[in-house]
Symmetry: C2
Subunit: 160 residues, 2 copies
């Protein structure tokens, strides 16, 4: 089954929101976001490798990882966990180290919707409309690929 991801981004605003359903309860989708080994399984384009530099998924903790491509390219990311409330809510900052100075604040809400399924509602706020628009133009394929990889992890690992 393919799950449609929706994105909402009003012209002239500094935020975007998205929504995506999963064939797994919120507890497992949340765990896939807060367990270092699990998050490394689905984050980044296929064929890349994630190396955690730091991952402390609790309110007041922080995270940092590098995505390595097959061609030797490396992309670093880091942020902090403003709030981690299992299994329903993560508030975190996010910054791509290749373009420093453009951090974002992201709120992820995990909601059970019945039949052992759940939905993520995400809200990302940017320092400027320009930052938001730049992210919008590049995010679609990468985000869908990540969520498809997450679908696969949830299927193979549904009761872990």
């Amino acid at each position: 089954m393919t799950h449609q991801r929706t994105v909402t981004a009003h012209a002239g605003h500094q935020s975007l929101s998205f929504s995506r359903e999963f064939d797994a309860p919120a507890t497992l989708v949340f765990k896939a976001h807060t367990d270092a080994a699990r998050i490394a399984h689905w984050t980044g384009p296929r064929g890349t490798q994630m190396t955690m530099r730091e991952f402390d998924a609790r309110t007041g903790g922080s995270w940092s990882y590098v995505i390595s491509g097959e061609d030797g390219g490396e992309w670093g990311f880091h942020g902090s966990f403003h709030e981690v409330t299992a299994p329903s809510r993560i508030v975190q900052t996010f910054e791509f180290e290749g373009e420093p100075g453009h951090p974002t604040l992201e709120v992820l809400t995990f909601t059970d919707i019945g039949d052992s399924r759940s939905r993520i509602d995400g809200l990302s706020v940017f320092l400027s409309v320009e930052d938001r628009d730049a992210m919008l133009s590049g995010m679609d394929a990468g985000m869908d690929e990540n969520f498809e990889r997450l679908d696969e992890l949830l299927t193979t690992n549904a009761d872990a």
Copy 2:
């Protein structure tokens, strides 16, 4: 000398920016924001007491404090430090625990402007325009009082 604080908030946007000059170099103004004892001296209304629950001013660290009023009232705040780069930049999250669910992302830039003076440029981004407008309506007096208290700390403690 009185220093004017400017605030810029465009209608319909999710952010506000402010600017304030100080009679002290950026290094000292930055220190007053990243040293637990100093920050307790100037944050909160006059007559209140700040109690630090946690304060780790480094990239990936976090902070948490309570402001106690003379009448016994208590107001808790917490956030995380996305970036702390001495003496020029702090990126942090901020949430008032009395109204949970409305975190903000704040970027503070500290710039020397000559004659041992400096300026803070601040940018706060909110989850929604409504959150921004609610903050705008209440922030003015509190922010000015904080910065006046900071002026006093910088005067009495200029070479610390």
